[in-house]
């Protein structure tokens, strides 16, 4: 009973935390410098990871689909499948999970560390809203950066796919691109890409919550990092189910 109560209390607290952050994003003064710092940290610094993972995943996916499609003589479908898979689902989801791992841990541990080393108190002592300066900027940066990273992931995977296909069947770049984009529609690209903003909100909110509210030594830092990654990854996958449904609702033609 108390566990259930704790659970709901927790959900309520995290939700309020997220809502407060979103509201805070629209209340001046804006912490521009800190926001840009987080763009650099979450976006730019994640880029190598995203590009490498996307490329590798593109190669792997391409090899797998080739193995299957060759049996049906449908190799021509490989680029189409690759783009459909990545634009619709794999790109957004994998990006979000990778960022949840890298950035979620960093935010959780970083904020907890700042709390423990009284950096947050130091900020507060300057009459600066540490929540806005540290949490809102991170959450908004996550929301902003994830779609961008997703685009990188999508294209890196296409590059990987092309690399793999070119190595096996010497397909030309133009043909690969044409067939990759032939059946994809904006509704397969824009909504799935933008939905990663929701994943960004999840990552920022969950890890921000753990980081900002934990106030206990190195143990706390560790736990905040772990909790951030685990919970935000889980939530991303669960929420993705809902988001896919929502996208189908608004773009009924895109249900594949």
């Amino acid at each position: 009973m108390s566990m259930l109560r704790d659970f709901f209390t927790f959900i309520g607290k995290v939700s309020c935390f997220g809502v407060k952050a979103l509201v805070g994003a629209f209340q001046p003064p804006l912490e521009w410098e800190f926001f840009l710092g987080q763009i650099e940290e979450i976006g730019w610094r994640s880029l190598p990871l995203i590009l490498a993972a996307g490329f590798a995943l593109g190669v792997v996916m391409s090899m797998h689909t080739r193995g299957t499609l060759v049996q049906f003589g449908a190799e021509a479908m490989i680029p189409t499948l690759q783009s459909a898979a990545f634009f619709n689902e794999l790109g957004p989801l994998v990006t979000a999970l990778l960022v949840a791992g890298r950035v979620g841990a960093a935010i959780g541990a970083g904020l907890t560390n700042m709390r423990v080393t009284e950096q947050i108190d130091a900020i507060e002592s300057l009459s600066v809203d540490s929540f806005k300066m540290l949490v809102v900027t991170r959450i908004v940066a996550c929301i902003f950066v994830l779609p961008l990273l997703t685009v990188f992931m999508d294209f890196a995977s296409l590059a990987g796919g092309f690399f793999s296909e070119h190595a096996t069947s010497h397909i030309s770049l133009q043909l690969y691109m044409t067939s990759a984009f032939k059946t994809v529609e904006w509704a397969n690209f824009i909504p799935p890409t933008l939905k990663t903003s929701v994943f960004g909100l999840i990552i920022g909110t969950v890890s921000g919550y753990f980081g900002y509210t934990t106030n206990e030594g190195s143990q706390g830092v560790q736990r905040a990092a772990t909790n951030s990654v685990v919970l935000s990854s889980l939530l991303i996958i669960v929420v993705d189910v809902i988001l896919v449904k929502v996208i189908f609702f608004f773009f009924p033609g895109q249900a594949i």
């Binding site: 730019w44 990273l149 999508d154 984009f181």
Partner: protein, 455 residues
């Protein structure tokens, strides 16, 4: 805090560039970035087309349905707005029409703008293109069944008419039979009744008409038969089926379909390879039938008053044997054409001289006659028989007397021995010359001719 603005710039800018590249590369991008032209079309049934459905011009992806205006009453039509790439505007002409198509068996529905003809003007912006309702197969079949029914009725009609013709022909023939019968069962030998020249003249005319009518009837019969074979040989039903298949294939234009069927029917009824025109045939035949039956009716009416003369005379072309000279008899086409049976009686065998010196039938001659009659048995009762008498005496008068007496001898024997009616037996003294059709040129004695019965 050192912010690496360059890094942020590179990151954000390249993401935006990639995103834009994606937008441009993606299939429907050209639609958003190119100039567009709107057309309208109206359909009573949208058949699954919804806003956003693809629009193709001659199969080339050209845009999408941007709006659908719902009609305000059941008889109204849906008004669809088609957002089409300007590049394809040239293909859209005023006679272009729009159909609902589907991508493969299970694919999406899309609108297809059929490109117009080169002669037609380019459809102006905002033009309403003719919407062609999608053809439901069931409707095609229903319509085709209707057409087929009509065709059947037409064919049935023709058949009935042809049948009618045949009926009329049989009726006429029956009538003719009746006349012959009447004469047969009539009053005495025909020749005796033909004293009045006027009567004989009118009968002559009637028979002439009747002959003409019969000839016509024959022709009609042949033509009617031809029509029926025509129908069969031209394989109308197969043609109709082909047309139906064509219609299904085309699945476009019912008007066209029915037109096609009409054409098919016309063609079927039109001139065949030999240039005969079935419809003409039928018309002619029917006209002939009408004429024939009309004539027939008239003639029959006239002959009712002198019924004994009916058909018999029509058939043989003369009224009495007595009126015929031996020459006329010999060359008469009626006797020529008759497939008659003959029994030749030789003067030396069949005839003998009795004690008084008069010529009589010898037992051998009687036996020969018995044999001939034996071949036709009971039907001899109403068998028209002509007894030809022959003689080759030196004197022409002797010849005439001898041939005549011989024919009388034989006729007598027939009448007495077989109890035949005298009206069925005609005498024809022919001196020495036999008719060409008999197969002999001259004879001495007699010949019993069993005339073939008129059917």
């Amino acid at each position: 805090m050192k912010i690496n603005y360059a890094a942020i710039g590179v990151f954000v800018l390249s993401a935006v560039v990639l995103f834009s590249v994606g937008l441009f590369l993606i299939g429907n991008s050209h639609e958003a970035f190119s100039r567009h032209v709107d057309f309208f079309t109206e359909l009573t049934n949208t058949n699954g087309i919804s806003p956003g459905s693809k629009v193709k011009v001659s199969g080339f992806s050209a845009g999408q349905v941007s709006a659908i205006q719902i009609p305000d009453r059941p008889s109204g039509k849906f008004r669809l707005k088609l957002h089409v790439d300007d590049k394809l505007h040239k293909l859209v002409r005023e006679d272009s029409f729009v159909t609902v198509e589907s991508d493969g068996l299970v694919g999406d529905k899309f609108l297809l703008i059929h490109d117009g003809t080169d002669q037609a003007q380019q459809a102006p912006r905002g033009a309403t293109l003719r919407g062609q309702e999608p053809i439901e197969l069931s409707a095609v079949i229903a319509k085709m069944t209707g057409v087929m029914d009509q065709a059947n009725v037409t064919i049935g009609d023709i058949r009935t008419k042809a049948d009618g013709t045949l009926d009329a022909i049989s009726a006429t023939v029956n009538n003719a039979n009746g006349i012959v019968d009447g004469i047969r069962s009539g009053k005495g030998t025909v020749g005796m009744l033909l004293t009045d020249q006027q009567t004989s003249n009118s009968v002559k005319a009637a028979v002439g008409n009747a002959q003409q009518a019969t000839a016509n009837l024959d022709q009609v019969f042949v033509q009617a038969k031809q029509v029926m074979t025509d129908f069969q040989s031209r394989d109308l039903s197969q043609k109709a089926e082909d047309t139906l298949n064509n219609a299904k294939d085309a699945s476009r234009n019912l008007d066209q379909t029915s037109r096609q069927l009409n054409v098919a029917l016309n063609e079927a009824l039109g001139p065949d390879r030999a240039g005969d025109n079935a419809a003409e045939n039928i018309r002619e035949s029917l006209a002939n039938v009408n004429l024939a039956t009309a004539n027939m009716a008239e003639d029959t009416e006239a002959l009712k008053h002198e019924f004994f003369f009916r058909g018999f005379f029509k058939k043989r072309g003369f009224y009495s044997l007595q009126e015929l000279t031996p020459d006329q008899y010999r060359s008469n086409s009626y006797f020529e054409s008759q497939r008659s049976q003959r029994a030749w009686l030789n003067a030396t065998d069949a005839f003998a001289t009795d004690a008084k010196g008069n010529e009589v039938l010898s037992p051998a001659g009687e036996q020969q006659i018995d044999q001939l009659i034996g071949t036709i048995k009971n039907s001899v009762i109403d068998q028209p028989i002509i007894v030809e008498g022959y003689s080759n005496q030196a004197l022409a008068a002797d010849e005439m007397v001898a041939s005549r007496s011989r024919s009388i001898l034989v006729a007598h024997y027939l009448e007495e021995h077989f109890h035949l009616s005298a009206r069925n037996i005609g005498l024809m003294p022919l001196n020495a010359t036999a008719p060409a059709s008999s197969g002999k040129s001259s004879w001495d004695g007699a010949c019993v001719v069993l005339l073939a019965k008129v059917k």
